[in-house]
């Protein structure tokens, strides 16, 4: 019997590491559907697609770390079904793997557009194969259109323009990221595209993709036609739970978990990372967070639950994005508060935005190129400190 981890990306691998760090000594089996050794996700939309970057996936573990982990790593194996009462996971090759504990770490699947599958030159960006294909495509691309100006779209556009191609971003909202950060801050981030020579088209959806075998253009709802030979669709992702449909596990926009990430009603079965919805201890309500750091935090929570150790100190959500030579850092949950302070821009490398709750407590912050200020905000959000009492913003800002 083994502790079976399904998914060999950040959440799955970190869970195995956290278990060993906590002294868990039993057998661990790690299933990964890709053939690559476990690799890190953030570089896919950054250095891996830069003309002078390293195209190889960045390993999550060195050979030595992998050996020390003592996991039965099975790559190129996809889980297709879970039988909770028999405690087996069936693979796409028809093998039934028995487990005593299970960690579901299958992440998310990027959304795409109807017809995208049959057109060459249309990509999503989620795995190493996507990044390799985009890097190859960028070398010969003439016109690039990015659908969705969220973090993936913006990071890709920033990397793509380094290949010397013209990039047009299409965003359905009037201001990118306004659903998360508000229109004022979204606009101060989005101005970077024009500053770098890329075009941003907002407030209009995509009607359809045009082309026979390969994409020729992106046609917008207002009739505009954007010629394109390379298209990236970055319009979010959905939890990869299809393989659990027959399992009876509670699923609604993610696998529903308790505070220690045990799946509700399924003792010994846990979910980690992007796929898990759980009551975040800092907030007391359910969240599903698609952040890299969240996968690390979940790994530690599950390792503590499995080994009976004390749960780790809760951390507030944190995410970063690297665009056009600048680093955006976002901490807390800006969307739950109202904007109390904003200054600077992304292209200026000096954006600071603070969001407060009903009693003036800091609940979220966006900081560009100032990790020290970011850390002050993180401390204040964790402590629930009142924004007005904090001397967070340098004088003159």
């Amino acid at each position: 019997m083994t502790l079976l981890i399904v998914g060999a990306s950040v959440a799955g691998v970190r869970t195995a590491q956290a278990l060993r760090m906590k002294g868990y000594d039993g057998p661990i089996t790690l299933l990964g559907e890709e053939s690559y050794a476990p690799y890190d996700k953030p570089p896919l939309s950054k250095e891996m697609i830069l003309p002078d970057g390293d195209p190889a996936p960045v390993p999550l573990l060195t050979d030595e770390q992998l050996a020390d982990l003592r996991v039965d790593l099975r790559l190129g194996v996809r889980a297709s079904e879970l039988d909770v009462s028999a405690r087996t996971v069936t693979t796409d090759a028809g093998e039934a793997i028995a487990f005593d504990r299970l960690v579901i770490a299958t992440g998310v699947t990027p959304r795409t557009l109807p017809g995208a599958d049959r057109l060459a030159g249309v990509h999503t960006l989620r795995n190493a194969e996507d990044a390799a294909a985009l890097r190859t495509g960028l070398a010969t691309a003439g016109r690039v259109v990015v659908i969705g100006a969220g973090f993936i779209g913006a990071e890709f556009a920033a990397a793509a323009c380094r290949h010397g191609v013209q990039v047009t971003l299409v965003e359905a909202q009037n201001v990118p990221l306004s659903h998360l950060l508000g229109a004022e801050v979204g606009a101060r981030l989005a101005e970077v595209h024009a500053a770098a020579g890329n075009e941003l088209v907002t407030g209009v959806g995509v009607a359809h993709l045009e082309g026979e075998d390969a994409v020729r253009a992106v046609v917008l709802n207002d009739g505009r036609r954007l010629p394109a030979d390379l298209v990236v669709v970055g319009i979010g992702a959905t939890p990869a739970t299809g393989w659990l449909d027959s399992s009876g596990l509670p699923i609604s926009d993610g696998v529903e978990c308790g505070a220690d990430l045990t799946v509700v009603g399924a003792e010994g079965i846990y979910a980690a990372g992007d796929v898990a919805r759980w009551p975040h201890p800092h907030y007391g309500y359910d969240l599903r967070i698609e952040h890299w750091t969240n996968a690390n935090d979940h790994a530690a929570i599950i390792a503590a639950a499995v080994t009976g150790a004390a749960a780790p100190t809760p951390t507030v959500p944190y995410v970063w994005s690297d665009q056009y030579g600048h680093r955006i850092q976002i901490v807390g949950r800006p969307a739950t508060g109202s904007l109390a302070h904003v200054a600077g821009t992304l292209s200026g490398g000096d954006l600071v935005a603070a969001y407060v709750g009903t009693v003036g407590e800091l609940v979220g912050a966006v900081v560009v190129d100032d990790p020290r200020l970011l850390m002050k905000c993180r401390k204040a959000i964790t402590a629930g400190s009142v924004w007005a009492d904090l001397d967070l913003v340098p004088a003159g800002v």
């Binding site: 690390n296 935090d297 951390t315």
Partner: protein, 105 residues
Amino acid sequence: MSERHFACAVDDLQPGTSMIVEGTDPGIALHRVESGEFFATADTCTHEEFSLGEEGEIEGNELVCPLHMARFDLGTGAPLCLPATIALATYRVEIEGDGVYVVSA
């Protein structure tokens, strides 16, 4: 053969802040916790290339890397949370007169 590097004068490093010790290779970071005590560690986070002397955040006797939130024990260098799994090298700190020195092995 150990080597001793002058880092700064005691009063030059405010409690709760860090600095890179000039002339060290690989780089050494000097940290001063709120109680006033000094600690020296490797400057680069063990998870990914990032200067802890320049941007590290001190919380009590712990050091947090502000890029991916890895946390280390300043005294032992031990990793306290993911993504860090490897300890930071630590170095002896000597105070002599008004000067703070770090000793590399």
